[in-house]
Each structure stands twice: as structure tokens, then as C-alpha cells.
């Protein structure tokens, strides 16, 4: 269903043969914006996590500006209150709650600077179970889809987040190191070597994924596209896993996300809509004209994880680990293997008649430079 609404942006592709797109930074006067941004769901069954931040001027070096030491509470229509406590870095977390599904709830925020914010009351929306997560091999890579349905035909609007995890391997074992002008054994135990060889990368979704069955007779989501992994991606070189989280949305929340997506992701082509005002469900009580970004919905979450193994995928990943032969001469060694340069991993000839060393990029020998060597619990 997503497709229907993003149709126009596809049209421009035809123009690809003649059109031209280039990076551009408009000369926009730096405006000091500092609006509150509220992200998160009220979770009726479990922990509610809310993130508070502030908007930043364009081209600001920081990515985010967390809003610290705010007082956040979940308030029910029946006047119950639950604290959502700051855990640092702008993240606020409640205790594991069991909210009354027949009540409406909202979020109250009081910032350190005295601003008071309220979201609209929202009904608790139960999220249906994910039926399945499937994947298909297409020309351009592995497409992962989600399928769900609501037998009550009540949900209609859905949002998904996902977390990808994949195992990576170093290309070579980290057996040597260059210290004080000479190459010596790295002196690592098998276990330590393995810790530099086996790693996992974890990545959260970056886009807004929504779907709707509003136009269908049954509340069925069939193969909503979640992610596309090109065959050349390292993600599917060893083993890959994706955890998909599904949230039920009401119509207003769905419109909010769709609008945010339109404004910030699918924009710019000839037939795309123009950016328009983004109105969430949070207002500043102390200054009603202040723009607040965010929509706080109340929905439970359903998760599903799948694994994809290397032997199921025709991977075309190339490790890009270029090998350099370094002659065993102090000058050569210093030139190639000095600090910030490449690392040796194999000898040419055996000690003491070593002619030279094979060396490659550090990332090909130490996977912790790219990921974590702590095996995820689900692996």
C-alpha cells in the first residue's frame, strides 16, 4: 500500500537519462531553532521509553541535542500518574507498567527551563501479532517483508522499526604486530585472536516504515517491504538477523508519520508533494505558539526475529582487504607499518630469514574496529 502513495516519486526516474542531481547546500541564514522533539510510545504492557531532544540549526556539528533533567509522567484520564525517569542522554524510561486498555493516556513533560508540555489523550491500541517475516531473492538483492493481520479488522495502520544484526569476520588472523621498528608476534591467545576475528554489528532502522490496510476488505498487510540488502553487502556474508517491531497506530499517528516521511525522506522529485507543516499531538501549555515536534501514541509492541544464513544467499560481497607486500627492511617497515598505517599478518619466509611481510588494513584484522565482539544473546 505504501507504493500507491509514493508512486509519483518514481516517475522522475525516467528522467534519469537526462536529469542531473548534485549535492547542494543552500545559503540559508543560520536560524537559532531550539524546539522540543518528543519521540516514543506509551507502552501499555511493559517499559515506556521516551526520548527528548531539541532541534538544531542546519549544519550544526552535533547530530542531536538531548533534553536533560525534564520531569516526564504518563497521565491517565482516570488521574493515575506514572513517572518516566531520565536515564541520561535524553532518554526517559518508566517501570514495567500494565495500563488499563480501556483508559486514555497522555504524556506530561516539564522541562528544566520551565516549559510545560502535554500530549493529547490517546486510546491504547493493541498491536496484532506479526504473522511472519519472509524474504525473497530479487535482482537487486534480498528483500525482507513483514506480514500481519488483525482478525478484528480494527488496526488498519501500522508502523515498523527494526534492528539488524549480522556477524562479521576479520579477513586474516591478527598474528603479528609492529612495535619499536620491528615486527613481532602479537602474542595473543587463541581466545584473544577469536575476539578480534568474530564480531557482530548491530544497526537500528533509520527510516519511517508505515503501512495501511485501510483500502482492503480485510485488515491484512501482505509483504510490506521492510528492508533491501544488496548482494554485495557484508550483512549477509556470514549470518544475518533482523528483529522487526510492529506498532499499531491510529489514523492521526499514521498521518503524522506519513507526513514526516514525505517532508524528510521522499521529497524533491518533480511530482513529490511540497513540504508542509508537521503537526503532532503535543502542545506547549506555557507557550501555545511554540512548535513541538512529535506524536505520542499508546500501543503495545510485537516483535519477530528471523535469521538468514550465508548458504541461503548468493552473496557477492568482496572484503576489500587489499594486500601489501612489505620488504623486511627497517625503512620499508617504518614507511608501511608505522602508526596509523597498515598491519602485518603473515610472513614471507620463516624466522629468521624473513624476506618480507604481507600487510593489510587494520579493519581486516581487528573486527572490533567495526563491531562488537560480544556475541548477542540470541545468536
Amino acid at each position: 500500500m505504501n507504493k500507491l502513495w509514493s508512486i509519483p516519486c518514481l516517475l522522475l526516474i525516467v528522467l534519469a537519462a537526462v536529469h542531473c542531481k548534485e549535492h547542494y547546500e543552500a545559503n540559508v541564514a543560520a536560524t537559532q531553532t531550539s524546539n522540543l522533539v518528543v519521540e516514543g510510545y506509551i507502552n501499555p504492557k511493559g517499559f515506556t521509553t521516551i526520548t527528548l531532544s531539541r532541534t538544531l540549526p542546519v549544519r550544526h556539528p552535533d547530530k542531536t541535542k538531548p533534553e536533560l533533567s525534564a520531569l516526564v509522567t504518563i497521565r491517565g484520564e482516570d488521574n493515575v500518574q506514572y513517572n518516566v525517569r531520565g536515564t541520561g542522554n535524553g532518554t526517559y524510561r518508566s517501570d514495567s507498567l500494565a495500563l488499563n486498555p480501556n483508559q486514555k493516556y497522555r504524556l506530561h513533560i516539564k522541562t528544566n527551563s520551565g516549559g510545560e508540555y502535554l500530549s493529547e489523550y490517546v486510546a491504547v491500541k493493541p498491536t496484532p501479532r506479526i504473522d511472519s517475516v519472509n524474504w525473497k531473492l530479487e535482482n537487486d538483492g534480498v528483500h525482507i517483508y513483514v506480514n500481519t493481520h488483525d482478525p478484528q479488522n480494527n488496526t488498519r495502520y501500522y508502523k515498523w522499526d527494526y534492528e539488524e544484526t549480522w556477524e562479521i569476520h576479520s579477513t586474516y588472523l591478527n598474528l603479528y604486530k609492529y612495535v619499536n621498528g620491528a615486527v613481532v608476534s602479537s602474542g595473543l591467545s587463541d581466545d584473544q585472536l577469536n575476539k578480534l576475528y568474530y564480531c557482530w554489528i548491530n544497526q537500528k532502522s533509520v527510516g519511517i516504515l508505515t503501512g495501511s490496510s485501510a483500502r482492503l476488505s480485510d485488515d491484512v498487510i501482505s509483504e510490506a517491504p521492510i528492508v533491501l540488502i544488496p548482494y554485495a553487502s557484508e550483512k549477509i556474508f556470514v549470518r544475518y538477523s533482523i528483529l522487526i517491531k510492529q506498532y499499531a497506530l491510529d489514523r492521526k499517528a499514521y498521518d503524522f508519520y506519513k507526513m514526516m516521511k514525505t517532508n524528510t525522506e521522499s521529497i524533491g522529485s518533480v511530482f513529490d508533494p511540497l513540504p508542509s507543516n508537521l503537526t503532532g499531538n503535543i502542545t506547549c501549555v506555557s507557550n501555545p505558539s511554540e512548535i513541538v515536534i512529535g506524536y505520542v501514541a499508546a500501543a503495545s509492541v510485537d516483535e519477530k526475529r528471523i535469521f538468514i544464513s550465508r548458504n541461503e544467499i548468493p552473496s557477492t560481497f568482496g572484503n576489500g582487504c587489499e594486500i601489501t607486500y612489505v620488504v623486511n627492511h627497517p625503512d620499508s617497515l617504518r614507511h608501511y607499518l608505522g602508526p596509523g598505517r597498515i598491519w602485518p599478518y603473515q610472513t614471507d619466509g620463516s624466522f629468521p630469514a624473513i624476506l618480507g611481510y604481507y600487510a593489510t588494513y587494520p579493519r581486516c584484522l581487528d573486527c572490533t574496529l567495526r563491531g562488537s565482539n560480544v556475541k548477542p544473546s540470541f545468536w
Partner: protein, 919 residues
């Protein structure tokens, strides 16, 4: 030299005639005729003179003469006897006299400039065109034409002469010809059908007719009464160095209406166009006051109006989507177009229904004399045109078709799009039939369609259809009428069938049925009344969404059809008060009925229209009027001549629009829909005042003008954030009414003729919108005026064509404009895993300025008249400087970070070649 030559030959002939007269010694007649029949009459004359008379007794069977003459020359006797009849007498040098009825026998070879000869033909009757096909222009120029019957001679001193100017070759009427009588230009000789009404004193006159690309025609007239004079204009194959044919004498300076641009297809073809295909709409965009948002859009904005505020007519048929292939081509085949008129300000009273402009595209009637055709081959399109008589000199057809083979372009795209396909076509058929002198019938059929499919998923298709039958009837010399009945349709249909569960077909349809009657009543040449009535019945299918394929779970969703009747009554008056002052005023009363069957939502007054303010749903049965809107529209313009070549003009116009395009993209896109005004959506209203100064230089060869205007727009539709426009059964909750104002000054210098011709224009204009009513919805930009998407304050264009010789010409087109307004990020925030843009108030920034140069060379094959085919090439470069003109600047979140981009439709110079054959 030529003048001297004529002068000499004239002298010689005069002398010769005098000598001859002396030698003949005209005998005198004395007789008393008492009801003599022709035989008796001739015998008496033969008895008293040495003349021998020749005649056909059958022609003279109704002849009888009763008169008494005494010592009267024989010519005078004949003249008196034949007065008030169509009998003629010709004398030759051998004392032979030929008596004829109707046609005159010429006894001398015509010699240019010989007035004496013309004088000798006393009673020349008007000869109809069918009899004169063999006559050469030079002869026609010297002949004396009688207009009206002598017998008609009444008391009035003036008579109405209708001059019908047609091409000698094709018999097509020549519009925009200039007619002058006795050396004086006719101020209001402006007509699109080539018919000119003159009021002249009875007696002798010299009429000079000039028409673009034709030899000047001179007609010597003797006017006895009201009558018609057909004038056939011969093609001017060669332009002589020493003859300056000053055509288009009725230039802008002399006309009362303002803000009118006329282009014939010849000048349109000279302007370089992308891919070499002459394009009506691209040329329109070079005119002052006409703008577009960018290159991939054929929609255009006139004086601050929206793209849906232009009434685009092809032979009176409304064309809703005038673009092919994402706007790269306009949907009009240049081979079947005769000319194009754009009304920006003084919109004739017979047109209505759109706020900003009327673009009237007139199709070319087929050649009534012989079969002809053209074929063109371009990089992306091919076209063909065949025309010819059905019954010679009576009826003709003109057929044109175009198609594309753009798929090769798509093959160049990355593999992911290899399943894409795009095609378009358009087909035109124009038929014309002359029933008799007073009745003509015209049929126009038009269909254009586009179909494209991207990457094997969704197929988009849209189609314009139009068919009309027009009957032109001349009641008498003063009154004529055009009656039209037609159907116009626009529809689109998008299908997606990749995912079997979600497979759908989405479609939209407009159907309109028109009837109109348009009358022109010429009180006298200085005073013309136009009046009439028109009615359009609309039937819209606002949207349907149906499953495609048996596995599809899509719910059939069909929005109830909309019906409406838009009617208008109008009267307009064009009046030349005196030589200096002309006024043109009109009143159009339009009436719009939104008709059931349909259910309508009724909302609480003064509250934003949404689900919470919905009071009830009202159901209306078939034919029940749900809502009526009506009101007068004023059209007024006046011209005052300060000098022969200088005039000032002023105008005031109001217009109403009852059908609206819903689109929240900047360009016309194939998913835009149209919506009728209904219970909740009010009609748009606009008014405009304009003022202009016009001056011609150098024998009217250079026209200059300055026009200023101020325009107000009311109830134009804007959209709430996140508006759902497609398949929305309650669109009124997603749209808001906006006010607008536009003002500007337009400067134009135009040289129509000569080796170097073209125009330079500069426009300063602003278009501002305002949404400040909190009762309607959230205010935009704090309720302040903000620039519209197509607000481009500075705009300058040069269009030039230089003919190096008759076979080789160069064309150059240079355009500059301020970048259009856009909304840019003023901040960033982090949400849903990505850095995102926080937008400024609407349209507070601009994209970089636009500048483009196009160049083309037109090479004609040899100009020998008698050859099977004529060939020509057009070679050129679009965007010669290769400037990457931005279409838009935008910021998008990719992989978690914001990236800014500048999108150019054409990132480099684009060469093109086009090959044309005429046969």
C-alpha cells in the same frame, strides 16, 4: 524603378485610348423605345450605327426597354437601358458589341495600371470565385468589381461590403489579414475567420488587402449596395528586396483588447524546442506574463494564476492535460495547428470558466484544392499529417497523428528500470464542409494519450478526448452565428499488479458536454455586438479504486459521481467611438448548478470543516439542485490613440471558476484530479485591472508595449498539511480557501517581419498568497502574504530568428528568470532513527536563478515548386551553455543524515535533429 515603369505604361495607354476615341466618332442615337424586346432594340441600334451586336437571345428573354433618347451616344443608350440590370456591353475596336448577362466579355488584354480599360467596363458584375479560378492575381487586381446590384440602389449613401479573404491555393480563410480602403486602414478589421465587414460610401473604392505570406491584393470596387466580395490571396513565393510588405496592420496598437498574444504556427516553428519538436506551449512560455515552475512541466501560470486557471481550447474543445511524456511535449501536433491566441487580460466575453487566461488553439482546415501532407522524424517522436479535399473546393479533411518511440531512452537507464516503458500518441481529424455560401460545417476530433510503466510495477495512463461539430451560419451581411455541440473528456487510469494482494486499478474521469451559440451582429463596421449563450454539463467520476486480479483484497472504492451544469449568457459590444477611442465592453452572467444524485456533508458554520464539525449528511436525488452559484462577470477594455502609432489602453475583467484541480505537487502530474464546486467548495473568483501603453516604430514593423496589471484572487484552493486528495469522499475537510494577489509590469519589443524577427520581453511580477482565517484551518506563515510556487519576480526572454537566405535560417532563444520560491530547512532534529529537516515558513527561500539558451538551424531543401517532396532539417542544441538549471533544491534524510540536493532536469546541452518531409 518599378513605380516609374508603371507610370510610363500608364501614360502610353492613356494616349492610345484617346486616339482611338477620336477615330471611332461615336454615332448618336435618336429613338423612342416602347417596350422593345432585345431583337427590336438591337435592330434599331444597328440601323443607326456601324456596330454589329452579338448576344444570346436566351439570356435576354426577359429584356424590355422603354425610353426616349435624342442624339445620345450608343454607350449611353446601352448604359441607360442596362441600368439596374446585370446586362453588360463590351465594345471592341472592330465595331463589334457583345451583350452579355452576368459575365463580361473582355475585349482587351489587361495591362497593369490601365485605369482607362477598367473605366471602359461600365457595368462589371461581381464574379464568384468558382468562375475565376484561372484568373491571375495581377488581372484580379485591375478588374473593377461591382458590389451589390445596381437595381438595389436605395437612398442610403453607404453600403455594407463583406470581404472574405481566403487563400487562393487552399481556399482556407486567412485570419489576421489587414484591409485598407482608399489608403485608410480599417481599425477594427480583426477577425479570425477572414471575414471583414466594411461600411463604405457608395461609389468607387480601392481596397488593399495584405495577409501574411501572401501577395498584396488590390480590388477596385464600385459599390451599389450591400454585397460580398471574395478575395483570393496568392502565395508570395519570393519576397523582393525592394518591396516591404507591411502585414498585420492591425497590430496591438490599434486594437482595444489588451494582454492578447497571437502566434501563427510559422513563428512557433521557428523557436528552438527540446528534441526539435515544435511545441506550442513552450513558445507560450516565452511570452511576457507566462511562467512555469520548471522544465518538466507543461502546466503554465499566467499573471500569477494557477495551472488550473487556464482554459486550454483546441478548436473549442477543452483540453485538461496538455502534456505528453512528463511535460516534455505538448499534446498538440504542430502540423494541424494554424495559430494560437493567448488572452491574459481582456478575455473575450464568449469565454469563461477559468480565472487566468484562455489559450485558444485553432486547428488548420485541410486544403480544399489538392492533397498534401507532411511527415517528420525526430529523436523521440514521429508525426504525419495528410490533408486534402473530399469534394474539391467544398469540403476538406486534415488528419494528423503523432507517436513516440521513447523506449530507447528508457533502455539507457540502470537495469532496475529495464522493464519500464513509455509511449504517447495524439490523433487529430479536422473536417470542413461548405454547404453553401451561408452555411459551413466543421468537425474536430482529437484524442491524445499517454501510457507509462516503471519497473514493471505501476502503469500510468491518461487520455484527453474531444469531438465537436460546429455550424457557421451567415444570416445576412450583418449577422452571423456559430453553433457548437461537443464532448470533451479527460481520464486517467493507474494500475499496479506486482503484489497480487494489493493489486489495484485507480481511475478518474471528467466528461463534459458543451453546447453554445455565438452570434456576431455588425451594426456597422465601427460597432459590433457579440452575444450568445453556452452551457456545459459536467459529469465527473472523482475516483475509483478497484481490485485488479482475483487474488486482490482491495476493496472496491468508488466515489459517487458529480454532476453540474455551468451555463452562461453574454453580450459584448465593440465600438469605435471615433478614430482615437475604441471601447469594448461585455457582461457575462454565469450560473452553476451542482446537481444530484449525491450526498453532501453539512458542516457547522464558522468552524473548520472536519469530522467534529459535521452536522449531517444530506441526500439529494437525481436532478435535484444541491447548490447554485451565479454572478456577473465584467469584461471591459478601452483604447485611446495618442498618435497614429501610439495608444494607451485600460481594462478591467472579472472571472469565475467552478472547476478546480487538486494537486499538492508543483507540476501537473498524472495523479491530479479535478473537483467541481459543490455545497462546501466555493467557486474561485478573480478580477484584474490593467493599463498599457503601445507604440509602433518604423512602419509598424516594430511593436513595443508596456502593460501593468493588478489582480486579486479569491477562494483559490490550498491544502491542509497531509491532505488526502485522491479518493477522498469529503475533500472539503482537506482543502482551505486562500486569497491571492498578483501584480506586475510587462515590457515587450517585437519585430514580426524582416530577415531578423522575434521578440524581447521583460516581466517584473509578484504573486502572493495569504491564508489567515483560523476558522478555516491552520493559518499559513502566520497569516501573512507569502510567495506562490511560481512567483518569479524577474523574467526576461529573447526569441530571435534570422533568415540568412531562403533556405537557411538561425534561431536563438535566451531565457532568464529568478529562481522560484521553495521551503528550506532552518533546523534539524533526530526522529525515528534519522536526522530530519525542520522547515521554514512556506516559500521563504529561492532556488538559484534560471538561465537557458537554445539554438537551432533550419535548413530547407530546394524551393522548386514542382517536385514530389520538399525536405527540411532542424538541427539544434537545447540548453546550449549546458547550465544545470535547478528544478528544485531539497533536503532529504538518507541513511540517517540529511543531504541537500539540487535537481536539474537537463544537466547538459542537448543536441537534437528533426527531419521533415512535405508532400
Amino acid at each position: 524603378m518599378k513605380g516609374l515603369h508603371y507610370y510610363l505604361s500608364f501614360c502610353c495607354l492613356s494616349v492610345a485610348v484617346i486616339c482611338e476615341a477620336q477615330r471611332t466618332r461615336n454615332p448618336l442615337i435618336t429613338a423612342d423605345f416602347r417596350g422593345e424586346r432585345i431583337e427590336q432594340f438591337v435592330r434599331i441600334l444597328e440601323q443607326q450605327t456601324s456596330y454589329t451586336f452579338y448576344y444570346n437571345p436566351v439570356d435576354f428573354d426577359s429584356f424590355a426597354v422603354t425610353m426616349s433618347v435624342k442624339a445620345m451616344p450608343v454607350e449611353e443608350v446601352l448604359k441607360s437601358a442596362f441600368r439596374y440590370t446585370d446586362f453588360n456591353a463590351s465594345f471592341d475596336t472592330e465595331n463589334h458589341v457583345f451583350l452579355t448577362k452576368g459575365t463580361l466579355i473582355l475585349t482587351k488584354l489587361p495591362v497593369p495600371g490601365n485605369r482607362a480599360l477598367a473605366d471602359s467596363i461600365k457595368n462589371a458584375r461581381l464574379i464568384n470565385s468558382a468562375d475565376r479560378t484561372g484568373f491571375k492575381q495581377s488581372f484580379a487586381n485591375e478588374k473593377l468589381y461591382q458590389v451589390g446590384l445596381k437595381t438595389q440602389q436605395g437612398k442610403e449613401n453607404a453600403a455594407s461590403v463583406t470581404v472574405v479573404v481566403v487563400s487562393a491555393k487552399t481556399k482556407e480563410p486567412l485570419a489576421g489579414s489587414s484591409v485598407s480602403i482608399d489608403g485608410k486602414d480599417l481599425v477594427n478589421a480583426i477577425d479570425s475567420t477572414g471575414v471583414y465587414n466594411l461600411l463604405v460610401p457608395k461609389g468607387r473604392h480601392t481596397l488593399t488587402i495584405t495577409s501574411f505570406g501572401k501577395k498584396q491584393a488590390i480590388r477596385r470596387l464600385i459599390v451599389y449596395g450591400d454585397g460580398t466580395l471574395p478575395v483570393e490571396m496568392e502565395d508570395e513565393i519570393r519576397v523582393l528586396e525592394d518591396v516591404l510588405v507591411s502585414t498585420q496592420r492591425n497590430t496591438a496598437v490599434n486594437r482595444a483588447p489588451m494582454g492578447v498574444e497571437r502566434l501563427n504556427i510559422k513563428s512557433i516553428k521557428q523557436v528552438p524546442a527540446i528534441f526539435g519538436e515544435a511545441d506550442v506551449l513552450r513558445v507560450i512560455l516565452t511570452l511576457p506574463g507566462v511562467k512555469s515552475v520548471g522544465e518538466a512541466s507543461t502546466g503554465f501560470n499566467v499573471r500569477g494564476g494557477g495551472t488550473d486557471q487556464n482554459l486550454i481550447l483546441f478548436n473549442d474543445g477543452t483540453i485538461y492535460n496538455p502534456a505528453h511524456f512528463f511535460g516534455f511535449f505538448s499534446a498538440f501536433n504542430p502540423e494541424v495547428i494554424k495559430d494560437v491566441e493567448l488572452y491574459k487580460s481582456s478575455i473575450p466575453v464568449k469565454y469563461g470558466g477559468r480565472l487566468s487566461s484562455v489559450l485558444n488553439i485553432t486547428g488548420r482546415e485541410g486544403n480544399k484544392n489538392k492533397y498534401a501532407g507532411t511527415a517528420g522524424v525526430g529523436l523521440l517522436t514521429s508525426r504525419i499529417n495528410i490533408e486534402g479535399p473530399i469534394v474539391k473546393n467544398k469540403s476538406s479533411f486534415n488528419f494528423g497523428a503523432r507517436t513516440t518511440y521513447a523506449n530507447w531512452l528508457l533502455k539507457l537507464l540502470p537495469d532496475a528500470y529495464k522493464n519500464s516503458a513509455a509511449s504517447f500518441y495524439d490523433v487529430n481529424l479536422l473536417l470542413s464542409q461548405e454547404i453553401n455560401k451561408k452555411n459551413d460545417l466543421y468537425f474536430t476530433g482529437y484524442i491524445s494519450g499517454d501510457q507509462f510503466r516503471l519497473n514493471n510495477d505501476t502503469t500510468f495512463g491518461y487520455r484527453n478526448k474531444s469531438a465537436s461539430l460546429k455550424w457557421k451560419h451567415v444570416f445576412n451581411d450583418k449577422m452571423e452565428a456559430v453553433f457548437l455541440a461537443g464532448y470533451d473528456g479527460y481520464s486517467y487510469s493507474n494500475t499496479s499488479d506486482n503484489n497480487k494482494i494489493n493489486a489495484y486499478k485507480m481511475s478518474f474521469d471528467i466528461n463534459q458536454y458543451n453546447v453554445k451559440g455565438d452570434f456576431t451582429y455588425t451594426l456597422n463596421p465601427k460597432h459590433i455586438l457579440d452575444f450568445g449563450a453556452s452551457s456545459i454539463f459536467y459529469k465527473l467520476l472523482p475516483g475509483s479504486f478497484v481490485p485488479a486480479g482475483p487474488a486482490s483484497l482491495v476493496v472496491k472504492n468508488i466515489i459517487a459521481p458529480e454532476q453540474a451544469l455551468e451555463s452562461a449568457l453574454y453580450i459584448g459590444d465593440r465600438y469605435d467611438v471615433n478614430k482615437k477611442l475604441s471601447v469594448s465592453g461585455g457582461l457575462r452572467y454565469s450560473l452553476f448548478n451542482y446537481i444530484g444524485p449525491r450526498s453532501t456533508n453539512v458542516y457547522a458554520e464558522g468552524l473548520p470543516k472536519d469530522e467534529s464539525s459535521l452536522i449531517r449528511e444530506a441526500e439529494y436525488g437525481p436532478g435535484k439542485v444541491i447548490k447554485t452559484y451565479h454572478g456577473p462577470e465584467i469584461r471591459f477594455s478601452a483604447k485611446y490613440s495618442l498618435a497614429k502609432n501610439t495608444s494607451i489602453k485600460a481594462g478591467y475583467n472579472t472571472l469565475r471558476q467552478y472547476i478546480h484541480m487538486l494537486s499538492n505537487t508543483t507540476a501537473i502530474s498524472p495523479t491530479d484530479i479535478w473537483k467541481l464546486s459543490d455545497y462546501n467548495i466555493r467557486p474561485q473568483f478573480g478580477d484584474q485591472v490593467s493599463l498599457g501603453l503601445f507604440r509602433n516604430f518604423g512602419k509598424d514593423s516594430i511593436e513595443t508595449s508596456i502593460e501593468v496589471y493588478y489582480k486579486r484572487l479569491q477562494n483559490i484552493l490550498d491544502y491542509k498539511s497531509g491532505a488526502q486528495l485522491v479518493l477522498n469522499p469529503h475533500i472539503e475537510t482537506d482543502v482551505i480557501n486562500t486569497k491571492g494577489k498578483a501584480y506586475g509590469v510587462e515590457l515587450m519589443i517585437k519585430k514580426r517581419l524582416g530577415k531578423l524577427n522575434g521578440w524581447v520581453s521583460y516581466t517584473f511580477s509578484r504573486t502572493l498568497l495569504k491564508m489567515d482565517d483560523e476558522n478555516i484551518g491552520p493559518v499559513v506563515n502566520k497569516g501573512q502574504f507569502y510567495p506562490s510556487n511560481y512567483d518569479k519576480p524577474h523574467d526576461a526572454t529573447f526569441v530571435g530568428n534570422y533568415a540568412i537566405n531562403h533556405r537557411f535560417s538561425l534561431s536563438l532563444n535566451v531565457t532568464y528568470s529568478t529562481g522560484r520560491p521553495i521551503t528550506l530547512p532552518i533546523g534539524t532534529y533526530y526522529y525515528s532513527g534519522s536526522e530530519r529537516a525542520l522547515y521554514s515558513d512556506r516559500n521563504m527561500y529561492r532556488i538559484p536563478d534560471y538561465f537557458r539558451t537554445d539554438f537551432s538551424m533550419n535548413i530547407d531543401g530546394n524551393h522548386k515548386v514542382h517536385q514530389l517532396t520538399h525536405n527540411s532539417f532542424t538541427i539544434g542544441v537545447y540548453n546550449l551553455t549546458g547550465r544545470k538549471n535547478p528544478y528544485s533544491v531539497y533536503y532529504t534524510s538518507e541513511g540517517g543524515v540529511i543531504n541537500g540536493y539540487k535537481l536539474s532536469i537537463f544537466g547538459s546541452a542537448i543536441p537534437f535533429i528533426n527531419y521533415n518531409i512535405r508532400f
